[in-house]
Subunit: 603 residues, 2 copies
Amino acid sequence: MTPYAAPVRDFRFVLEELLEHGSLTLPGFEEASPDLVEAVLEEAAKLAGDVWAPLNASGDRQGCTRGQDGSVSVPDGFIEAYQAYVEGGWNGIGVSEALGGQGLPEVVASSVQEMLHGANMSLGLCPMLTAGAIEALAHHGSEEQKATYLPKLVEGTWTGTMNLTEPQAGSDLSKVRTRAVPCPKGEGDYYRLSGQKIYITWGEHDAAENILHLVLARTPDAPEGNKGISLFLVPKYLVDDDGSLGERNDVTCASIEHKLGIHGSPTCTLSFGENAGAIGYLVGEQGRGLNHMFTMMNEARHKVGVQGIGVAERACQHAFAYALDRVQGRRPPHRGGGECAISDHLDVRRMLLSMRARTDALRALALYCAAQLDVARHAAEEGEREAAQARAEVLIPVVKAFSTDQAVEIASLGVQVHGGMGFIEETGAAQLLRDARIAPIYEGTNGIQALDLAGRKLQRDGGRALGGLIDEVEGTARALCAAPRLAPLGEALAAGAADLTAALAVLLEQGSDHERGPDAIQAYATPFLSLAGHVLCAWQMGRSALAATAARQAGSQDPFYATKLQSADFVLRQWLPEGRAQRAVIEAGMESLVAFEPGAHQV
Amino acid sequence: MTPYAAPVRDFRFVLEELLEHGSLTLPGFEEASPDLVEAVLEEAAKLAGDVWAPLNASGDRQGCTRGQDGSVSVPDGFIEAYQAYVEGGWNGIGVSEALGGQGLPEVVASSVQEMLHGANMSLGLCPMLTAGAIEALAHHGSEEQKATYLPKLVEGTWTGTMNLTEPQAGSDLSKVRTRAVPCPKGEGDYYRLSGQKIYITWGEHDAAENILHLVLARTPDAPEGNKGISLFLVPKYLVDDDGSLGERNDVTCASIEHKLGIHGSPTCTLSFGENAGAIGYLVGEQGRGLNHMFTMMNEARHKVGVQGIGVAERACQHAFAYALDRVQGRRPPHRGGGECAISDHLDVRRMLLSMRARTDALRALALYCAAQLDVARHAAEEGEREAAQARAEVLIPVVKAFSTDQAVEIASLGVQVHGGMGFIEETGAAQLLRDARIAPIYEGTNGIQALDLAGRKLQRDGGRALGGLIDEVEGTARALCAAPRLAPLGEALAAGAADLTAALAVLLEQGSDHERGPDAIQAYATPFLSLAGHVLCAWQMGRSALAATAARQAGSQDPFYATKLQSADFVLRQWLPEGRAQRAVIEAGMESLVAFEPGAHQV
């Protein structure tokens, strides 16, 4: 497998020139000087490239193993690599200082996350889940819970898990059956949990001292449906009053899954309460478990999008290295003739540029979204915070779903660039496709993301937040039209913005219909998200083209800017048209889907 | 894994109503009565569903094993399943009666092939390669070679392989280095081969008595490049004069590949001449090996396209069965409310209909192409034969590349329909994606197919054959516009035809430029093939809509026709727009690709 080199230059371009250090100058980020940020990116790049990336292929081959006692061993080297991450203080970089973290901006934390996932997605999942547990406890835990658990989670010496899914409760969590019974009065302030959870990422492993499971369960006499579900903290080892580890709790790994990819990440079925019942502590309010879980879900979804971009970046690097090295065929005479690397054939170049340009675009959008999260938390003005939060909430399902769908396509194109070699596992390109394929599924399928966008997020404010973004897209289009040599990009972007505006109007009008609204949202959600993803990514690349042009006009000779202009040109003129086709799909209406009876189509 | 049920009803619809028994009435097919064809399809469906399909998942899990002596064992049950195929006489159904086959039309043989690949793609590869060897010997072998080898190949008791690729010679076969040295005069009419071939499908196995390797090699003093390459027949066991098997030849399996998919198909590295040199016999003319190989390549490519459709069909069946069974969420009140299967959610329906409609469309186009092959071989009039051959040659790269690219997408969508289950290997959906992923790579990558179409096939006749097809597309569009309720489909198809016409004009004009033509062909080939694939598939679905409407008007109550109209509506109004976007991609020009330097984009 080609070594991984974190794209530090591109992170710096986005942070410094596209976001213009926006997040870094917010109140609370005084210490995040450009120099510090640069140093953080460089150090993270070393950890990712030197420590995590070399274990990616071996971790895939070896996978995880479950012992007969329910213990789970992660692949060789993973414990040490995770330890290096913990010792470097990386787990807390995005956590606020009040909770013991470094409190760096989300744009920086997201950049580091992308590097780690690009280096080793299976290992990257462990801290991703811990981050969710930190969020849940920080927002909803009692002071005592925070004091007991947060420091270890923030350090990373303990890890966290999210226990949502059960066999009958996947996308529809109202069907959760795991039970939590309060212990008899006077015996303590805890519950006994029993039930089975599936698809628990890093649910059991040997890389940390303790594991804190956050579990959705139903209390006795709780109402049916969502309102009967509460959130519980179930530690693998109970924690004594002095903070030391006590008894083993009644939660065991019943099995680990045999999966298409991310073999280095143990995906567990967890059994709670096979004996006395697993001891669990209520987090937040009874009956508000789903709400509490969804507080952190938004950020977890952003992280999955970023993860997809990390894998896409690695697929790019892999494919470029192969294509530049593999000699096959001849260059046409007018370009010098002679034997050449396959990267000289324009058909291969199309694949490479498509991979690179899309990855650049997805990254710029994901970091723009991260910057909105920073503003939403740290801006001085409440109005500014609220506006940024509204934008982030619209952008997050796009970042999650669009980045991960594209990551699968980019990884698949990476396989194709390798020809026959791409299908051979030892090459490494196939692993990236296998790994990438989970990201459109977990943390809410991409269909669920599309419904979140087209339903909840757009309907509740009548498309106002997205409308504000489209205004900005149009502004960028005008700026491109006014710039020398960028007018064709501006025209393309303006056309994309017009399509998105038209599709939004259809979605708002039909989606608000009292009777047929839910169907309309379901019918248009996926094409709408794809259209929005294309247009918003194209917007960011339009901004990139303007920034690159400005840098060149200011005298920069850095060849990076030429590559950025090439990516922008491809995104706006050769990739955006594919997204624009989704307007026609939406305008074709929903009748064909309503009339469609899948049972009649079965063979 | 969901059982496989061959889509016999749809094969019959295409054969009887779309092709109107076209091939079946050609001279030479007198015995292929509709009744016989129906019986053949029903019997093939049983073999595929009852014998081959149940081994698909177990074959994937077990894979092939190579012994230390270089022998290769295929998965349990494969030998018996192949034997059942041979004993049923299936290997010869598409082979002419003169060569000992049944001489059934290609449309029927292709239908049977799709079933077998849908049931078990790994096993299906074995006879696919044998068919190539039959073609090669039938067209280019000496009378003695035909007499010695063809009967066993046609029976299937011996199998064939294609030995093209070497580590330095993939898409560019002019780099073949395997050597073939004529034996000293008077010692016999054979050569001694030495060298190594890679990626040899079913290159060694224990499912047949003998294996006949067709090998590209270079004779001493042969010129550099393509013209120095000849084709040789190298049997695993030499054949004595009485037809019995003699000595083991000097060809061994050095290793088998560890692949992303098709684990049940042994992909071998073959070493020729590690000892005395492998005995091989020249097939056809010295120096014409590549030409001889390409004679059969066209048909092999059609078969790979059909293979993709088979896997797509199985992915459909798998996804439909899951979606109809999996209860999750609730139906909207105006459609009855209550708990429902996920197939009731319109977003899931979109995925299912997209899978089904595209599979239907790809099948109709592949069988239309097969019918052209039948006409090209059997029509009474030479002009008719030539016109059909020209059409088939234009269609084959489309069928190969477009069907296999789409098959990967369809299989990936199948994974998505399953949610978390899709990522678990035991479910079976992931295997279909892994298996499908090879088809865009082998038998000429899809990039090579696009170049074949945009370069050789379109440039040599100035787009005449494709232009004839576009005329037919326009005719179908007019017929749709004139039919009640189908006008929107007709308008969509007409717009697609206009885009294809415009793109063809760009390709012909820029492609014929003396200097920059080769670059233009490279730059536009892939988007052009995608556009052509969408438009031609949409054409077939437009024809399907007309046929279904006619059947209903004639009083049929068969619900099949309603499903066909739904597939057609989706293809024309919701899928074709995505393909039409490729016109804009082509009109964006080639400058961005020419200017693009992949080396500058490396991190």
